[in-house]
Each structure stands twice: as structure tokens, then as C-alpha cells.
């Protein structure tokens, strides 16, 4: 007898054949719905942050940022002096122009939003397995911070993600390590005034708290400096690091700037 799993697989294959996943792209319509404020509850004031990172304007900025990153990486790869210069001169967060981002009209959504941008969730693996997949030695915290549990590592998007979760699932600490760079879309940018230079040991880094938010139907997104999203970025030995804390759980909100820096400094290769 076929078991449920086999039937499930057959069904999924049949549906994938009937409706190819590559032909399904709901995001432009979902986004247009939200931007246009057609949903009653949203129009009543829920905050929404609209991602228009692929507009021509944003693409130009992304391209410039990408070229700068590539140039610095190339410089860093050539000489030790170049590496030091690049690591010292780099902005780890793209700077936004002010504390607002103009939003495009819903009707003018760029067609290239149809391009897939996400990968399926990767399974949790050990740090050693993540190192093997990433091709470099992944470093981790010697112990999980108080109130957090180490779930494991995931490898996707050419990056390793070490996940620590608060007991009530309302907060996370994620340490991302990659040879390939940071997120550099405008929505991951921050106003100059929100970027705090920090030192992780002898290494320069940058810390940002907040994110851009807006209301459905608004014409601009505004920087919210109190949003409980804190990101710390730095680079070490050619690897790009981001330590982010997300959510409102006490176990993560209690981690202030000094704590995050101390955690970053404590990252080590696990035995």
C-alpha cells in the first residue's frame, strides 16, 4: 500500500506540473493591494513598510553600492594594505538620503518584481556542517546568551545563519556570516544619523537600530528609530558578519550595544 507520504509527493508533483511554481508570482498584486490601502484595516493605520527596492531609482543606487563593494573587495584581495584600507573605509550600511523614502505609485510597480528573490527555508544543520557547505570556518558564540537557545545553523543565500531563539519565540538573535557581502537594498539602508560606529576588538563596525516604516497609502516611508530591530555589521578576515536581534522578548531587548559588541568579540571557532 502506498503511504501518505507517497500520496503527498504524487499530489505535489501533479500540482507542480499543472501550475509551475516559476509561473506563480503574487507579490506585485499583494504589494499593490497594500500600497493602495484597499484593505480596510490597513487604511485604519497599521504601519506598513513598502519595499520598492527594485524601482529604477533604487536600482541605480543599488548598482552604485554594488560597484563600490566589488571595488573594495577587489582592492582587499590584492594587497594586505588594500585589505586594511578597504576594511577601515567601508560603510557597512548603505546610507539613505534622509529619514524618508519616497514610495512609487501602486500602478507603477516595476515589472521586474516578478523575479524570484527568495529561497526555500534551509534545514538546520550543525556549525561544522555549515562550515563545510560555506567553505570557511564558521565562528559561533561559546554559549547561548541568557534566555536564548541555540537552534543550529542554516546555509542559504551563500551565507551561514546561526539562530538563537528566545524561550517565548518572540525574539531572535541571528548571526550571519558570508564571503559574499551584506544586504544592500535601500530598505536595509539607514540614515546617516542612525549609524553608530563601533569597534569589535580592533575591527571597525557599524550598529543600527530601527527600520523604515510607513502607512498603507502613504507616499513615503519614514525611519522608525525605536523599532526593535538592531543590526551590527563588521568584517573580519574576508568574511562579512551581521549580528541582528529581532523582536520584543526581554532576552533580546536586554542586549544593548555593549552586549552585542561583546558577543561579537566572543565569536570563536568551535572545537
Amino acid at each position: 500500500m502506498m503511504n501518505d507520504k507517497e500520496i503527498r509527493t504524487l499530489l505535489q508533483e501533479a500540482l507542480a506540473e499543472e501550475l509551475s511554481a516559476e509561473q506563480i508570482d503574487l507579490w506585485p498584486a499583494v504589494k499593490a493591494n497594500l500600497v493602495a490601502g484597499k484593505q480596510q484595516t490597513l487604511s485604519q493605520g497599521d504601519k506598513m513598510n513598502i519595499n520598492n527596492s527594485l524601482s529604477p531609482y533604487r536600482l541605480r543606487h543599488a548598482a552604485v553600492a554594488l560597484m563600490l563593494v566589488v571595488a573594495l573587495l577587489a582592492l582587499a584581495a590584492i594587497t594586505p594594505q588594500g585589505r586594511a584600507l578597504a576594511e577601515n573605509a567601508r560603510h557597512f550600511f548603505t546610507r539613505s538620503q534622509g529619514e524618508a523614502i519616497a514610495l512609487p505609485a501602486a500602478a507603477a510597480l516595476p515589472s521586474d518584481l516578478a523575479a524570484p528573490t527568495a529561497e526555500p527555508p534551509a534545514p538546520l544543520i550543525s556549525v561544522a556542517e555549515a562550515s563545510a557547505q560555506a567553505g570557511f570556518s564558521v565562528i559561533a558564540l561559546p554559549a547561548a546568551p541568557a534566555g536564548l537557545t541555540f537552534l543550529g545553523a542554516r546555509y542559504y543565500g551563500n551565507a551561514v545563519h546561526l539562530e538563537y531563539q528566545a524561550a517565548n519565540n518572540e525574539g531572535y538573535l541571528i548571526i550571519t556570516q558570508s564571503k559574499h557581502g551584506f544586504l544592500q537594498s535601500d530598505w536595509d539602508a539607514a540614515p546617516e544619523t542612525a549609524v553608530i560606529p563601533v569597534q569589535i576588538g580592533d575591527l571597525p563596525g557599524e550598529l543600527v537600530q530601527g527600520t523604515f516604516v510607513t502607512y498603507a497609502g502613504a507616499e513615503a516611508a519614514e525611519w522608525n528609530p525605536t523599532a526593535p530591530i538592531v543590526r551590527l555589521r563588521w568584517m573580519q578576515d574576508g568574511i562579512w558578519f551581521e549580528m541582528g536581534r529581532y523582536g520584543s522578548a526581554h532576552a533580546v531587548t536586554q542586549l544593548d550595544q555593549a552586549d552585542l559588541v561583546a558577543l561579537a568579540e566572543s565569536l570563536t571557532v568551535q572545537p
Partner: protein, 191 residues
Amino acid sequence: MRKDMYMNDQIAISRLKQGDLTGLETLVKRYQAMAVHAAYLILYDRAQAEDVAQAAFVKTAERIHQFDGKRPFAPWLYQMVVNDALKLARKQQRLVSVDAESDESVTRVAEWLVDPAQRPEQILEQEEIRRLLLQAIASLPPEQRAVIVMRYFLNMSEASMSAKMERPLSTIKWWLRDARHRLRGLMESFG
């Protein structure tokens, strides 16, 4: 590197709860295919299935603060999809017709679904099996299709399905057993 490759579900949901739609974009990209597939299995209409899935993601943005972070996201989403698809299907009582004159094989499958004793004698081409499976399911009433989706996409318990469908547990058990046995037998007869 694409902007949302860094995000797992937890980060995406956390961002969305803060009003950051990049979190929703990640969830849409990640789950849209399964959501449309689940709706399609009940509605058998691609446009309607995409509308239902799209509406579910808009509801996700509206209701994310009601989401229990201790639970996985996918079943929460898929339940909205199934509920809305079933409501629409009930309104339309959409039944996919099986044209006996145009496709004899499908006709035999449909007849066999009604009466498992009438097993199809012809061994069909392997590549036809999946197509016939979908058509066979289409011949079921919407409630039984929804039961299949809940069982095979959502891994829901019979008790949960009973509550969702507002039907007695015995009815759910019968629907599920009937649908499962017929599907199993159908596929084995082609195997």
C-alpha cells in the same frame, strides 16, 4: 546578494510585525506556490486559486499580530487559503466535468472512484498518472477535496478538520478514509 535571502520565517515575521513589508515579501515568495496549489486543488481554477492565495497574504499582513509565534507559519497560512477556497467552491459547487467521449481513460478513473470494484484494466502511461490523479480528485465534492488538502498539505488532525469543517468527526473520518482509499487504490492500479 538578493535582499531576502538572509531571512528565515522567524525573521520575516518579526519584521512584518514591525511593519516592514520586506518580511511579507519573503513569506509570499516562499509560500506562494504551495498556497496556490492548495487553493487550486479545491477550486480547479487557476485565476481563482491565485486570487484566494493573494487574499490570504493580504490577511497575513493584517493579522500578523494575531499569529502565535510558537507555531509554524505555513499551516496558519494554508488554513486561511483552504477556508477561503472552500467557501468559494461551496458557492460555485464547481465540479470539473469528465468528458467520457473525449478521454476514455479519465472516464474509467472517474467510474472507479465511484465504485472501486470497477478497477481500470488498462495500464496507463506513467506520465498520465499525475494528470489523472488531479482529475480524479476534481470529481470529488469540494468538502472532500478540502479534506485531502488539509490532510496532505496541512497535516491536520481529524479533530481539527472536524472543527474547521463544522462537520461531525465521523463524517470527516468517512470522507478521509474514502478519499484516501480511492486515491491509494487508484495509484496502485497504475503502479
